[in-house]
Amino acid sequence: MTGSQDTTTTGAALEAAPVRLSMRDVRVAFGATIALDGVDLDVRAGEIVGLLGHNGAGKSTLIKVAIGSVKPQAGSLEIDGRAQSLDAGPRARERAGIRAMHQDPALTGNLSIADNVALCGPLEREPAARRREAAAAALARLGIELSPDRPVETLSVAERQMVDLARAIAAPLRVLLLDEPTATLGKHETDRLHEILRSLAAEGTAIVYVSHRMRDVVAVCSRVVVLREGRVVMDGSTAGVSGPQLSRALSPADATVHDAHPTTPGREVLAVETPGGPVALRSGEILGLYGMAAGPQEGLLTSLFGLAAPVEAQLDGAPYRPGSPHEAIDCGVYFVSADREREGLLADMSGADNVTLPWLRSMCRAGGVSHEAIGRMYTRSRQALHIHGPGGEAPLNAFSGGNRQKHVLARWLFGPEPKVLLLVQPTQGVDVGARTDIAATLREAAAHGVAILVASSEADEISLLCDRVLIADGPSWQEVPRMPNWEERMVEVLLREHELA
């Protein structure tokens, strides 16, 4: 790790550097959910701080507080010792020198790079020639060979991110925030970005780097801050952190193995040839696929539902190559996306509609869809999953978040019996009670012989739901059997595959 060696040598010098960004006792609550529970964060000039934590730990919320797009309920924010108003929006923060590079840059496609760099910034009122010059200078500083006149819509995502970064550095910059900057970048582009960040830090910029990819964090950051449930649980120099320490900090607070009743696997239902080796799924078992966010485990599930490039697979011994979701559904293979709010729900339609929609054809009588059949399936769904809220005729957005998500699961569990259930992060964004309900229902489905595949980037979700786990993101899948400290062990194996421990 060249990055960590660099940082140990400069570590002492950083101690003396002035604090650029100081956030104190930041509290943010969304309704009843506390996203940030008194977070302190100091970033010194020239420092690159890696911000880690699992989904929902509050990383992005903290970034949003810093750039002014989320207003905290309490706390303070200082830049170079000057207090900033918490009511100020993103524009005021940009003027104060805090800028962000976004994962999905919001650029205007039909404008040129130069116009995008100047947009809404201090350069906006400058004449065109001056704007072009400034953009060219920013691009040159980043070592990017793109003409400032090129329209942004002709650029790749990686190039757009670089334009977003050029925009951030085109005006005087004090604090740079990066939210998952490498999610869409290849290895070469990632290395290039890290070079740029190091040179920006050397010029005295304070940098906060949010990432799921621990390898990247270790490579470029001088300090690591770990968030868990809205609190800072670890804060130390990258060089002094060991793999096990990091995995303990990243595991959720109640890191215990859930004593689930073991299921009794039957015959093999699904056999898939993946680049990482064969994956076999038997009826009545719940198999976890654990990996980094957006890792190969999610790609495999979308492929098996006909949403991505097909994989070599056999379902009940016959070749299985679905070209679209309805073909997969006809084969008894059902899929629950991670983003249920946007990809799983019909918010304006009723709860009953949301549960029964794929099965209406089988519920028809002469006069049309049978309301009794709909009622039967919906009543069963509500009882089994303990769905609370208004009646089944109410639009789904009148239900609370956890209950909305239960509708998605009920849809696939209580219609025609599934052969294979593909679930991506099925308990994410769901409260503790709902998690338990979902786990119990999945276990019951498995007991009826359903084969269940759970893809997740959260070790606690795997340990709550699964019988065994395959860990992804290395050259091959590695199986880790259920054991004491299972979650910690999973994180450790994943980190090792990333050459971090």
Binding site: K59, T302, A338
Partner: protein
């Protein structure tokens, strides 16, 4: 007490067009003795019927979040083709079937281009609007075809129990549309596609096929409107459908069908249809300048849209209903943590194919 008052306002605003319709009927009844008569009511129904035939299928298409601007030209072509087939074969059936078949084909082309090639529906159907209008005029040299069969002409004036035949056709279209929308799986699919296309696709709904079918049906219905006009006039002018898309979309929007897709009811569309029909009829019999009709219809549309925007607010105030967006932010802080495309590889494929 206060809640009841807001609840009343919510329902009044939600069914604003219906309320407006009743106000209009009351107003014209007071202003003119001839308004509330069987004869006048029949006249209103008869002039609304051909419009209803195309407006209702088009409303279903708008519920899926799409639109067809070419209905006027397809109606003109449908009339012209029907009349010329009748002139050549002397067969009413051949003319009607030929006209409808053309409409289905023209709608199918629109649907294929929009659904399977992924082209923008506004652009495609705006193009089709010009193309079919041009062809209708070119083929007839701009002249009205008058050689419709006597049987066809009779249909235009026929009455059953004192009600014009066209009204039965329109009523049948409305009934079938209501049945499909509320009682058939396809109806749920229509709402699902308009409400959340991606989620519908992931539930196994064949999104492209749903829209393709509705484009085809709308095209056929537009030709049906053209044929009905030809029967009423006992002739087929090549520009009979001129401006049809404007009146149809005005009615649909007045009827509470949202352009964003996912919302709308057949009853609402009928309320919109009668609102416009009664307004025009009432203005004529009270002797108001026909130029002012447009002013009133346009103003009513703007009022309806303004009411529509305030409905959601009123509803929230009444029942504390939360929109999807506000709850995702409030109850799912982890949403903020997520990458915008969690299924990465998967998303966008449906649109690509």
């Amino acid at each position: 007490m206060k809640r009841n008052a807001t609840a009343f306002r919510y329902h009044a605003a939600r069914n604003g067009t219906l309320v407006g319709l009743m106000v209009l009927i009351g107003l014209f009844t007071v202003l003119n003795d001839h308004f509330l008569t069987t004869r006048n009511a029949t006249a209103i129904l008869q002039s609304a019927a051909p419009l209803a035939v195309v407006v209702i299928p088009l409303a279903l298409l708008v519920i899926t979040g799409s639109v067809d601007l070419s209905i006027g030209s397809i109606a003109s072509m449908g009339g012209v083709i029907g009349a010329s087939l009748m002139g050549h074969t002397d067969s009413t059936l051949a003319g009607v079937v030929g006209g409808l078949a053309f409409g289905a084909a023209a709608g199918g082309i629109n649907g294929g281009l929009v659904s399977y090639l992924g082209l923008n529906p506004i652009v495609v159907t705006l193009g089709a609007l010009a193309v079919w209008q041009g062809i209708a005029r070119y083929a007839t040299n701009g002249a009205t075809l008058v050689d419709v069969t006597p049987g066809f002409g009779k249909f235009g004036t026929a009455k059953l129990f004192g009600i014009p035949a066209e009204v039965y056709v329109a009523a049948a279209v409305a009934l079938v549309a209501w049945w499909v929308l509320n009682r058939r799986p396809f109806g749920r699919h229509i709402y699902a596609v308009g409400g959340n296309e991606r989620a519908a696709y992931l539930m196994g709904v064949r999104v492209k096929r749903v829209r393709f079918i509705l484009f085809t049906v709308t095209g056929m219905a537009a030709a049906g409107t053209g044929l009905m006009q030809a029967a009423l006039l006992q002739a087929a002018p090549p520009d009979v459908g001129l401006g049809l898309e404007f009146s149809a979309l005005t009615i649909i929007l007045l009827g509470g069908v949202g352009f964003a897709g996912g919302t709308g009811r057949v009853a609402g569309v009928l309320a919109g249809l009668f609102f416009v029909g009664v307004l025009q009829d009432g203005l004529v019999i009270t002797g108001t300048s026909e130029f002012l009709q447009q002013v009133f219809v346009g103003a009513a549309l703007i009022v309806a849209v303004a009411l529509d925007a305030s409905v959601a607010r009123l509803g929230r105030r009444t029942w504390g209903e939360r929109g999807l967006l506000s709850t995702t932010a409030e109850e799912h802080p982890d949403r903020l943590e997520q990458s915008p495309e969690p299924v990465g590889v998967g998303s966008g494929r449906e649109e690509e194919r």
